[in-house]
Symmetry: C2
Subunit: 253 residues, 2 copies
């Protein structure tokens, strides 16, 4: 029965082309190589430009191709495994934290974050901007929302802005004892400032990891981290703490 | 400094439109409502069709809009939190398994899966197809790859195909004792048969969850599960097993 079902699925033209292109990438191209232009590719495979473009988009979603501004379409390197367990999304400011504080402002968070923090509709919170660098490349940009009640003794005059202010806020946050955290992953599109930091165009697909940190019986901070969806594969270790690279062929040093 | 940086980022036209559209969705439209056609929308906001389309694509990536075949573009309901912890991606066939076996074939797995299982390049493995249903909707389609060495006593004649065969394979797999598992999440595009099962067009963005199950000191099975990226937010509980809905405003009954 299953086989019959599969066979009855109409396969769009670009889908077949995608498979053919994917095989060509394996056999004829190497990582980083620039693909011929769309006109030449369409001619070679005997398809319309629109069909070609759909197939290229698929391959981009799957991480096989990268479109880079001013460069063109290149063959992507294998995706990098980026661990996003509790160790990497640790209580912000803890020793061994993988994130670098960049900036700190005070602003009203998005409605969904305000809902989690149970702050009022337009109540402002400390918004720490951090970035995560792996193998020398920025892999994620984060906005960390910390309400006043989580840092009650924060002095307003000490380090009023910038990275120094961010560090001061995180230092205060560390006074609370972390009781637990949970995480959600969803698809999003890169906001302009994240895109710039991640070297992508605004609107590029990203994986958004939202972490809720609990202390004193409530959500004490919320982290919204944006990972490049084209180059990253997010890995979650076992509860035993085992952390193994997903694909041995793709092991990064 | 941070503020200056933000202000110097050139904001594409569709980006501004996206923000304006997003506000209009909040204030003027309700969930499930069909949007006016592109021509009318472009006229209303005074933008080119191409700009409008880019903005709509962004909103679709962010889960605010859904494009449905034969219906048009509708306002999406809030994304559903789908737990993908060890409890939901349990040792396949265990009691309380959230997955329903659909079919079972024998085929050579994709190269990446063969690499993890350390099977030969064209060595065939049992390929169990399963689906996961939440709140009455299919949320994920899975291909579960099980090499012969994990089910050595499987009889070839007992239940040669279909769901019965799948159950027979899983029953045999349960003889092994699970030693650990790990998981990776990445962006992908829906294969034709997954797309059909998930009621999406082939190539639609999906979240691919790859789980490696370890037994007897090696990878004994690999699950590649495809979740709808438009409607699902994948949730990971604390190692303590706490599993709380991400966003209280979006709690589904």
């Amino acid at each position: 029965m299953g086989t019959t079902q599969l066979e009855s699925v109409p396969e769009p033209k670009y889908w077949h082309l995608k498979t053919v292109l994917s095989e060509a990438l394996d056999s004829e191209f190497s990582v980083g190589e620039i693909l011929p232009n769309e006109r030449d590719l369409a001619a070679r495979f005997g398809v319309a430009r629109a069909t070609l473009r759909q197939a290229l988009e698929q391959l981009e979603l799957e991480g096989r191709l990268q479109r880079r501004r001013g460069v063109g379409t290149t063959v992507a390197p294998p995706r990098m495994g980026v661990a996003v367990g509790s160790e990497q999304h640790t209580w912000p400011g803890a020793a061994g934290d993988a994130w670098q504080p960049v900036d700190c402002t005070v602003a009203a968070p998005p409605p969904a974050v305000a809902g989690v923090l149970e702050t009022g509709r337009n109540e402002q919170v400390h918004t720490v901007r951090r970035s995560r660098v792996t193998h020398g490349h920025p892999v994620a940009a984060e906005l960390l929302y910390i309400p006043d009640f989580s840092v009650p003794d924060l002095s307003a005059i000490d380090a009023p802005s910038g990275a120094a202010r961010a560090r001061a806020v995180l230092r205060e946050l560390q006074r609370l004892e972390l009781e637990g955290q949970d995480r959600a992953v969803e698809l999003g599109s890169a906001r302009a400032e994240d895109a710039k930091e991640l070297d992508r165009l605004p609107g590029a697909p990203v994986l958004v990891v939202t972490t809720r940190f609990f202390a004193e019986g409530r959500a004490a901070a919320v982290s919204v981290a944006t990972y490049r969806a084209d180059t990253c594969r997010l890995t979650f270790g076992d509860s035993g703490g085992v952390e193994i690279h997903h694909d041995p062929e793709r092991r990064a040093s």
